[in-house]
């Protein structure tokens, strides 16, 4: 079965530290890639997404992610985290299914980030 792996389950950083969260997927075809964030008590929301073009994607709140096709990776980065970045981060991958009109949308297991003030 296809999968999305987030190897860091819990990350603790001090404010101003740099962040990199890993995301790897297993599907070998053309994919679309997403990072979602869930702040405490809030809905899951989109952070950034990649469909095509420049593999370095910029999202909201200073986040960026780089798609490296050869490594099946889409890692999330932020140069300097803030206390308000404390949240759970989910990587997601989707692709068009073999049946016309359907598609697969798979989420990783999530990474809980805690930023210490």
């Amino acid at each position: 079965a296809q999968s999305v792996s987030q190897h860091n389950h819990h990350v603790i950083l001090s404010e101003a530290a740099s962040l990199e969260l890993g995301c790897n997927y297993s599907y070998g075809g053309t994919v679309n890639l997403f990072w979602y964030v869930q702040y405490p008590g809030q809905h899951l929301q989109l952070l950034l997404k990649y469909f095509s073009g420049d593999p370095l994607v910029k999202g909201i709140k200073g986040f960026e992610a780089e798609f490296i096709k050869s490594k099946f990776s889409f890692n999330l980065r932020k140069p300097s985290v803030q206390w308000s970045d404390t949240a759970e981060y989910f990587c997601a991958v989707n692709w068009r299914g073999s049946t016309s009109g359907t598609y697969k949308y798979i989420f990783g297991t999530g990474t809980r980030l805690k930023v210490l003030a």
């Binding site: 979602y36 809905h43 929301q45 997404k49 989707n94 068009r96 009109g101």
Partner: protein, 116 residues
Amino acid sequence: DVKVTQSSRYLVKRTGEKVFLECVQDMDHENMFWYRQDPGLGLRLIYFSYDVKMKEKGDIPEGYSVSREKKERFSLILESASTNQTSMYLCASTLGRMTGYQETQYFGPGTRLLVL
């Protein structure tokens, strides 16, 4: 802004009860999804629907059914609740079926269900 609402934030039910979770979106989206979110397991797709009265099984449909009688409403039904269905249930929607594979999912606030 897209708004996805879920009927309850918290629900406590007893084993064997029939449970209905309701989801409504207000942006005329074609696709709607039900996930369950468990610690360490992320989001797992239960069912999705790409049109009224249409549904497709996700990765973990056992013990669940769904209903989509109107475009804006997607219901998840636990026919006979069991303790292993204690979880956070998330509803989501995307705009259109044919472009859905490139689309952002818009999530509701979730329903935390406890089955005793």
